[in-house]
Amino acid sequence: MSLNLTMFGQAIAFAIFVSFCMKYVWPPIISALRERQKKIADGLQAADRAAKDLELAQDKAAAELKEAKQKAHEIIELANKRSNQMIEESRVAAQAEGEKMLNRAKAEIEQETNRAKEELRSQLAALAISGAEKIMEASVDVKAHSQMLDKLANEL
């Protein structure tokens, strides 16, 4: 257990080990550690930011959804109103058209009646003449008598 040169041998070995450690062991490990620490810190920061962004986006989406709902509501209301209006309009139009058609038919009927009357009248005149001719058996002046007959027909 006496002191001897071993002491210095140990010191030399120690110096060599320390310098090797200082040059080749410590720097790469500690730099990897620092880099990872930085990465983790960055990652955490990014996560924070993302959470904030998400919250913002959620708020925005909610607002937009609300707006869209309101708009849809408005549109539906408008459409309802418009359809009611259209129904009303078409009803009015149909009514008008019906009336028009009815009127036209009435007019036509009247016209037809008039024509029938006219025809009847003219045929009646001819019939009366031929009747008179047969009665008289003598042809009178057709001109003079037709004037008279026309007058008669008009009185019918």
Binding site: N4, T6, F17, C21, M22, I30
Partner: protein
Amino acid sequence: MAAEGETLTATSYIKHHLQNLTFGQLPAGYERADGTVLEQSMWTLAHSSKEAQEMGFWAFHVDTLCWSAGLGILFLWLFRKAAVSATSDVPGPLQNFVETIVEFVDNSVKESFHGKNDVIAPLSLTIFVWIFLMNLMDLVPVDWVPFLFSVLGVEYMKIVPTTDVNATFGLSLSVFFLIIFYSIKVKGVGGFVGELTLQPFGKKFIPFNFLLESVGLLAKPISLSLRLFGNLYAGELIFILIALLPFYAQWMLSVPWAIFHILVITLQAFIFMMLTIVYLSMAHEDH
């Protein structure tokens, strides 16, 4: 139980286990353990404790040097392997393990040392892991390795370098050198001398101040190395004593002691590291 030939007593067993494998110079005319007389001085391995002692200061403990160097290389190889493939992405198991230790050391340094110095952190890492590994050899059963080497013809083998006071002094002397180096570098020669002589009692008591402060300064490396050495030497000695018990009874004591020792070896490595950081941080501060 490694000793060959001679009758094995408890004393000789303990002595044998506490003897380092010493390489040194024996003078001419020296009568060796086996009775032969050297014709001229020669460098050789000691074959007995007495021979090792005769070699005096100019000798090496081969086992201490080899084991500590081997463990240091193991440490650097492992950490270098992790450093080469270190990425800031998901770390593998080795990198994870190494990073845990590195971060632990880095935090310890940051807590105690506030200056800017690129040496202290790697120095602390080396101290912590290297001393831990050297201490860890203490948990290898005391007879295994010496027995293996005795089969190979090597008589002495002490595998725990930190139970050799030379190893711990080698470390603490390096730290001591660094303390003085940084004191002078930061405060200048004048500042350092002033620190040693002008406090705590002012200019009138310079010799007294100097005595006080130099004792304080010298106590640092001595306490540093003797604390580590004492703890590990005592631990090793107790393992050796336990190994003297009958083999069926050993586990009752050796297992609890080994478990307790896991704490001790880690703690001692940590204390050595922390005190180094604190001493160097003191060296950087002006009073």
